[in-house]
Symmetry: D5
Subunit: 147 residues, 10 copies
């Protein structure tokens, strides 16, 4: 047994039970973005959170333990994703990557925007020309250390 | 001559003149995100915008015409970027890609968040634990057409 | 269980029952192009369409639910397809890609032809020198947003 | 000197002269799709066509000869194109490739749709919800020979 | 069940029964080259041929149906084959590819040698310095269509 | 200077002088297949052959020496060729590779068909349904040594 | 069943029985290098040799037949091996490849050192500074044929 | 200027002067294998050796300094070499890699055969069936350290 | 059965028993770095160490034998790791690789830092700005042999 | 002009002047590890440091400005380095990557060891069995944020 087995069991159970990520997140008591990432095998739950997830998806005690083990992360197969929705994000990195780099360096100097001390918020924006997906990414700036 | 030649000339001139993207964007009269992407060879300027850019960087008439030609886009070499700042964004797609997909589909159904009818805003958030980079991505939702 | 399992079950059943995509599409009540893509795991059926597919292929209730979940898309393995028929399409993109880009930009300006708000129609054209395959692709033009 | 040098000279001249592919095609007397592909180094011109192209772009005699030599074809670098417009076509092959294969085989049996005995027509379709790009691809069906 | 399952069953049966491709081809009544390719999952049999193959290898009715379905072709894994015999052919394409291209274009003009309307004949040539493998490849020339 | 420089000079000179490979081969006194491969940088000429090639293409003494140095072979860039004519050969190896392997092993046992002690002959076959390209490949069989 | 299944069975049996390749080779009556390669699925045994191997590893009759079928060769996954011992050999080809090429061509002219008519001998050399691995590779030189 | 520039100058000079690696090695006073590797940019010469090489190839003082700088090693482009001679060595690693690993571990235990404390000797062996290339590779065995 | 099966069994047992690597290492009597690498299938245990591991994880006798067989090493899939923690180490090699090379060569001359005669020590350093991970890598310097 | 041009100029000047990294670092007044990384185009100098570097290598004013621009980082070409010294580090990540991950997570929980708030120290350790290279890597631990 490994974490992928638990992830697959969660996804299968979610479809057959007809649960929504938003409902699951409310049971766990954290944001829907972080809980979804955890259920998809990218984040580590603590014992209480793992118990809540286990209750929803009828996980065994051993499966619940796996939710508390740090996973090998990376949710996509292959360097270039084939799924059109995920590819659009990859395209944003490809087209705007050098722009993002220039503007963050102009504002902050040499360093990175952390993907660890990081949060994400996904919202619908109503719009008469077609609703929009708004995503806010927030990451701590970490300057390169010189020594 | 091609668009890359113009991009390299702009970057070289920017360093030797000590210009900032923010100043350049104010001269062009558009957002700093879009103008930077354009100067880096990813967007197409109209005649007036191209003239403003040409004035700043002392471009020839032919170089100014290239700014108005739709470029072959993609600002990174190789599928996996080696630069740490850009890689963190790639990592976000790798770690959170399936989460983003699940949550957008839960809210909107099958379709994508457009990377074309799309805008981006990068801001500094002051924070006593270290300032944060906040990025807002806004893209129109496009549902898959069935027929 | 996942969507691939359902796709494989549909393909196996189709061969053993000797059904045609054209017949299946008529039962579902949509075009043969879209229904085939859906049965091959690329599109999302609504409840009624899923029920029709389930009836034809004797799917279980859980399998029928999977037809209504947005799939991870991409029907080919590897970046360069080995199958001669599919490769010819890949070759069209390789040989004519820059031509298509030039002509769409000449007519419409910077932007893309949508692969989401998109339909496809495949027809046989009788021809004394050998029949021809005629394919009409229709996609909405989406201009790049400047901001 | 090679064909790529001639292609680059044509593209540079086209931008500085402000010519359109449609005008170029009318001078050459063939479709805009085929002439653009030829000017981009994918097709072979005969002497008369080459002379017309040479006149428009002020090519030397040697450059004009290269237009009549069969080129090494393939207009994209890398197996997965980074340009968003061209990628959408690649995505169509990825998402619909197995559908196209199934439907052509259902209608014609084992074989391929030729990419050699092939033509393409790109048209604008006015539409109140946003204009559409319509592309007609026509290729001879070639059955696999058994022996 | 899919075509690969049938291919593996045929190969396993061939080894345990000690059959030769030449004998199998004579039962099917076609060339040994084409029949071997079919048994290895690259060609489509008609009902009569499939019945002959099924008789030899004790295939079930469903397996026999799969022999009549157009397969996803490509018999090698990875772009560069590791098997020394197959690699020598790949090496011929690598070393002589540009030569073959030049000589076919010199004789026929722009176009291709078809790999669909194609046959192959493999023969032993006795030779005192060591026997030779002689392979005749015959493919229809298809000129590029201009339009 | 290296062999590629000489190859490019030969190809450029061939186009500007309008020479044919068949004529060049007759001057060198070897088959057109081998001479073309040599001029394209894949084979090593002896002093006399190199002098004949040098005379035709007005090579310098140093360039003539390079024709007599064993080259780094391989005439294609990338593992999967993009040119349609060369790809058809690659496709033959992909589709028929396992067939060729089976039939040569059935006839000869374990070993390979040499690509070194090897010759190739390309001929046109007139045919009312369209002329055919016939290619004869002849390679010595080399059995694996056991020890 | 295929050759890989037999290879895995042999390796598993070898570990549980605690046999050495050297002992196995003595039972088969050939060199330890060739017998090991055969047991690892790279060489073809004759009936007598296969019987000896089968006796040692308790193979079934069908498994014994597979040892006599020419295998699809190549014992490593991926183009660059991750195992440190095997990588050192890959590194030798990377660092010394051009040296080996130069020196063999200087001595023999254009051609190759055969990897088919080839043998290998691995010996320990005692050395006060640490024992050495000595490997002798012996391959027939095959000159390129001109025609 | 970098080491590659020096390597190219040496190779060009070697061809135009008609020198042999064996003669060069005798002037330098080391084995032909090591000297060739050094001239091809894989090894570091000391001052005296560099002076000998510089004298033969008329190198400048700066070029002579580069011969004494440790180079970035690796003499092949791409993971799978296209040159037939070098490929045969790559094939040996592919086919015999697991055999070599097994036999060295059987004799020495866990560890590697060094590619650094390593020497190579290439010799011709006369043979009535065709001369053979004999290569002796000698590398120190390094056991894995446990701690 | 192979070493990977044993590794997976150990990892699964470790999670369900709630053991720590540090405790396991103390039972085996070696450093936690080396024991963890061994349990993850990268190192070879001797009989006594294997018995200790087997006792902790309730391995069978055959599984215990596999721990004493030299494994095929390499604990990551794909050349670029997707896991953020492991990627940071890969990034260190990417960003600092040329620096490490320059400084080791400046101090020691041409050669390598051994990854075989090598040890690693991972420690926590308390720090008011956030604790740090300190890793000491120690490898024997091996000079390139000239001959 | 770009940063790579400055890096190449620095490396060329360092060889022709015979400077050592250690001396350069003392002039700049930072550690030899950080200064070397900066000179190799991986770090950003401030005005004073850039002036010191410029003085040593006789850089122009424009080149000195480039040293103060944040570079596109990544000092290696290709995902798998060919240089033996750098490869040994890559091998450490491959062999010990999962071990490092396990031990850091066991000590710190989910998160990463920063490669940004990071320093490195390379030292020689005298040793009668051959000197050792000791490298200390120190990176801040960053826990994954939950929200």
């Amino acid at each position: 047994m490994n974490r992928n087995d638990v992830t697959e069991k969660i996804i299968t159970a979610k479809v057959s039970k007809g649960l929504k990520w938003d409902e699951i997140a409310r049971v766990v008591g954290m944001s829907k973005e972080w809980v979804t990432a955890g259920c998809l095998g990218q984040m580590t739950f603590n014992a209480e959170q793992a118990a809540a997830v286990a209750g929803l998806f009828e996980l065994t005690e051993e499966e619940t333990k796996w939710l508390q083990v740090v996973p090998y992360k990376g949710s996509l197969s292959g360097p270039v994703p084939t799924d059109p929705l995920i590819y659009r994000w990859y395209e944003v990195v490809s087209v705007y990557g050098s722009t993002i780099k220039e503007l963050i360096h102009e504002e902050f100097g040499d360093g990175i925007m952390s993907a660890i001390d990081f949060s994400m918020d996904i919202q619908r924006e109503s719009n008469p020309n077609g609703d929009r997906v708004n995503v806010v990414l927030s990451g701590k700036f970490l300057p390169y250390k010189s020594y």
